[in-house]
C-alpha cells in the first residue's frame, strides 16, 4: 500500500506541515488544528523526512514493525464530485429570479459543455485530495498526512484520545463505508478519517483502542474488537412516548403551526411567511422526528475498551468512550417524565460534543448504567440531598427549592431546577478547581455559591449555601479532589 514514489509528483510548494493559516487548504480529511503543540517539531521533522527520502519508516518508531501508510477508501473522491452542483443549487436558491433568467438564455449545448468541464474538474479534485491523503498507526500515534498544496501532518497521541466514533450516514451505509472520528483534548475540531471500509473502520477502531489501552505493540493489531456486554437498550415505543412527553417537541410544533398564519395575517407577504415558516418547521421536525430517528435503537454496552453507544435508524453511529474519560454525568428529569419515573442521562467528555448517554430509561436502569460509567459511584437519592437554608428564597424565590447538594466519598452532586430536575455528578478525581463566589445581596443573607470546574469545560455549581457551609465545602472539596486523584485509574487502563 505504501507508495514512496508519489511524493515526487507532488507540486513543489513550501513544505508547510501543520499550517494553521491555510484556510482554504484542500483537506479531504476534515482534520483539526494541530492537535498537540508539543508534537510540532517532531511533526515537521518526520513529515520532511518522509517526503524527501520517500521512506515509509520515519525515525522514532519501532524498528521491527515498519509503519505502513494507508489510503482512505476509494469511494471517498465521490463525496467531492457533487460540490459544483451544490454551488449551482445554492446560487439558484439564493437568487431565484436571476437564475431563471440565466437558465432560459442557456442552450442545451452550453449546459452540457459546462457539465462536461465541471464534473471532471470536481472529480479530479476529489481524486487528488484522496490520492494525497495517507494515514498510519504507530505505537503511540495516529498520523494523518494530507493536503494538495498546503501539506499538513497531524500526529494524534493515542493516550490523549477521549473517544472514538464510527459513524455511517445513510449514503455511506449503502456504499458500505464508514467515518472514523477521534475526540482529542484541546482540539477545536474533531479529527476524522472519511471514508474507510466498514470492516476496516471497525478493525482500526479496535486497534487504536488497544494501543491507547497500552497493549504491547506486537499484539495490538491482533487483539481485535473487545467483546461488548449490553447494558441497556431503549425500546422504540418508550423513546416515542418520551419524546411526546417532552415540552420542547410541543413548543417547536406549536411555534411552527401558529407563527406563519399570524405572520400571514400581519404582512400578507408569501416570502416572509416562507422565510420564517420553513426554519420553524425544520426545527419542529428536528426536535421530534429527527430525534426519534437519531436516537432509535439506542444501545449502551460495556467492553474492556470502554463504553459503547450505538444508535440511529438511518445514520448508524457507534461511539466508544474509553474508561476514566467521563468528567461529569447529568441525570435530567423533565416534568412530564416524573410520573413514569423516567430520566435522561447526559455525560461530558473532554473534547467531545456528544453528550447523551441514555435518551430515556427508568431511573433504576439509568442509575445502573451510571454506576458502570463511574465505577464505585452510587447516585445519591433525591431525599439525601441537602437543600439550601430557607433564607435562600430571598435571593432566588421559589426556584431555591429545586437546589440541593450531596457529597459522597466518590462524587460531588448538585441538583437544580424545579420542574425539570437536573442532577449533576462530578467524581472527586475529575475536579480541576473549586471556587467560592458571593455577591453583595448574597452576603446580606449570609449565602454563597460553590463552583466546581471540570476538564470538559463544564462547571457544576452548588448554589446558595450557608456561608460557613460553603467555606467548609470549598476546603473539603479541594482536599477530597486531591485524595480522589491518588487512586484514580491511569490513562493507559490495560498497561
Amino acid at each position: 500500500m505504501t507508495t514512496p514514489g508519489v511524493e515526487d509528483g507532488a507540486p513543489d510548494v513550501p513544505d508547510a506541515p501543520d499550517a494553521p493559516d491555510a484556510p482554504d487548504a484542500p483537506a479531504p480529511v476534515d482534520t483539526a488544528e494541530p492537535t498537540d503543540t508539543a508534537d510540532t517539531p517532531e511533526t515537521a521533522e518526520t513529515a520532511e523526512t518522509a517526503e524527501t527520502a520517500g521512506t515509509p519508516d520515519p525515525p522514532g518508531t519501532h524498528p521491527e514493525r515498519p509503519v505502513t501508510e494507508r489510503r482512505l477508501h476509494p469511494v471517498t473522491p465521490f463525496r467531492r464530485a457533487w460540490a459544483p452542483i451544490a454551488v449551482l443549487v445554492g446560487w439558484a436558491v439564493h437568487d431565484p429570479n436571476q437564475a431563471q433568467e440565466q437558465l432560459t438564455r442557456l442552450t442545451t449545448t452550453t449546459l452540457l459543455i459546462a457539465l462536461a468541464v465541471l464534473v471532471p474538474a470536481a472529480s479530479l479534485y476529489g481524486f487528488l485530495t484522496w490520492w494525497f491523503t495517507h494515514f498510519s498507526v504507530t505505537d503511540s500515534e495516529l498520523r494523518i498526512r494530507t493536503g494538495l498544496l498546503f501539506r499538513r501532518a497531524a500526529h494524534i497521541r493515542l493516550e490523549r484520545v477521549q473517544a472514538i466514533d464510527v459513524s455511517q450516514p445513510l449514503l455511506a451505509r449503502i456504499a458500505g463505508v464508514a467515518k472514523l472520528r477521534l475526540d482529542v483534548v484541546g482540539a477545536e475540531k474533531k479529527d476524522e478519517l472519511a471514508f474507510l471500509g466498514e470492516e476496516e473502520a471497525r478493525v482500526l477502531r479496535a486497534e487504536l483502542l488497544a494501543r491507547a489501552a497500552g497493549f504491547a505493540p506486537e499484539t495490538a493489531h491482533e487483539v481485535g474488537e473487545a467483546p461488548a456486554r449490553e447494558l441497556l437498550r431503549v425500546p422504540p415505543r418508550e423513546l416515542a412516548i418520551a419524546l411526546v412527553l417532552t415540552g420542547a417537541t410541543w413548543g417547536a410544533l406549536v411555534a411552527a403551526l401558529v407563527v406563519p398564519p399570524v405572520l400571514w395575517l400581519a404582512t400578507h407577504s408569501v416570502w416572509t411567511v416562507l422565510a420564517t415558516g420553513v426554519p420553524l418547521l425544520g426545527a419542529a421536525g428536528a426536535s421530534s422526528v429527527g430525534r426519534f430517528v437519531g436516537e432509535y435503537d439506542w444501545t449502551v454496552g460495556e467492553s474492556p475498551d470502554g463504553l459503547r453507544i450505538d444508535h440511529g435508524l438511518l445514520d448508524r453511529t457507534h461511539e466508544t468512550v474509553p474508561p476514566g474519560r467521563v468528567q461529569t454525568v447529568r441525570i435530567v428529569q423533565p416534568l412530564l417524565w416524573r410520573r413514569r419515573g423516567w430520566v435522561r442521562v447526559e455525560l461530558d467528555v473532554a473534547g467531545s460534543a456528544n453528550s447523551v448517554l441514555v435518551p430515556v430509561a427508568p431511573r433504576e436502569a439509568a442509575e445502573a448504567v451510571v454506576a458502570r460509567v463511574l465505577p464505585g459511584v452510587s447516585v445519591p437519592a433525591g431525599t439525601s440531598l441537602s437543600r439550601p437554608p430557607r433564607r435562600a428564597g430571598r435571593c432566588v424565590p421559589l426556584w431555591w427549592r429545586g437546589y440541593g447538594i450531596a457529597v459522597t466519598d466518590t462524587v460531588f452532586a448538585t441538583r437544580h431546577g424545579l420542574l425539570r430536575r437536573s442532577l449533576a455528578l462530578v467524581p472527586h478525581a475529575k475536579v480541576q478547581s473549586v471556587r467560592l463566589t458571593q455577591g453583595p445581596w448574597q452576603r446580606l443573607w449570609r449565602l454563597a455559591d460553590v463552583h466546581v470546574d471540570t476538564g470538559a469545560d463544564k462547571t457544576v455549581t452548588a448554589r446558595l449555601r450557608d456561608v460557613q457551609e460553603a467555606a467548609e465545602l470549598l476546603r473539603g472539596q479541594a482536599e477530597r479532589s486531591r485524595t480522589g486523584r491518588l487512586d484514580a485509574r491511569s490513562d493507559r487502563w490495560m498497561a
Binding site: R325, A429, G439, A471, R475
Partner: protein
C-alpha cells in the same frame, strides 16, 4: 473569608499595582475632565464647564475603589493547592490543586513592565478556572512560577 485564618499564610499584592492603577486612573480621567471642561466651556458656555467635575468625582470614587480592590487581593500557597481570594462586593475564592495545573504563565505588558510588575496566570484543563495573580514583583512572579511548575510536576495527574 478569614474565618479559618489559622491555616494558610496569606500574601497580599505589592503596592506597585495600586500605584500603577491609580496613576492610570488619574491620567485618563484627568484628560477627560480637561477635555470636557475646555470643549463645553468654549463651545456651549462657561456654566457647562461644570460638567468637568463629573470625571473629577470619578477620580475620587475610583481612587477609593481601587484601594479597596487592591486590599482584597491575596493568595496563599498551601501544601497541595494554591488559594486566591479577591473582590470586595463580588467576592471570589479559588482553589487550584497543584496537580491540576497544565501551564503557568508570567505575563507583563508594556505599562506593567514600566512599573516593574508582572502577572502570574494559571491554566488548568477547565477554562472556567480563572486563576490570575496580577501586579506581582517580577522576581516573586518567577519564584511563584518555578515553585508552581515544580509542585505541579510532582503532583501531576491526568485529566
Amino acid at each position: 473569608m478569614g474565618t479559618t485564618a489559622a491555616g494558610p499564610e496569606w500574601l497580599g499584592l505589592p503596592p506597585g499595582l495600586l500605584r500603577m492603577r491609580r496613576l492610570l486612573l488619574v491620567v485618563w480621567l484627568g484628560l477627560v475632565a480637561v477635555g470636557a471642561g475646555l470643549l463645553l466651556g468654549l463651545l456651549v458656555g462657561p456654566a457647562w464647564a461644570a460638567f468637568a467635575l463629573l470625571p473629577l468625582a470619578g477620580i475620587g470614587w475610583g481612587w477609593v475603589l481601587l484601594g479597596r480592590n487592591w486590599h482584597s487581593w491575596r493568595y496563599a500557597e498551601r501544601a497541595d493547592d494554591l488559594l486566591i481570594s479577591r473582590g470586595v462586593l463580588w467576592r471570589e475564592e479559588t482553589v487550584v490543586p497543584y496537580g491540576r495545573m497544565q501551564l503557568v504563565e508570567v505575563t507583563s505588558g508594556p505599562v506593567e513592565r514600566h512599573f516593574g510588575l508582572a502577572s502570574v496566570q494559571l491554566h488548568t484543563a477547565a477554562a472556567a478556572t480563572d486563576a490570575t495573580i496580577p501586579g506581582l514583583d517580577p522576581a516573586e512572579a518567577e519564584r511563584l512560577r518555578d515553585r508552581l511548575t515544580q509542585l505541579g510536576e510532582a503532583r501531576s495527574a491526568g485529566l
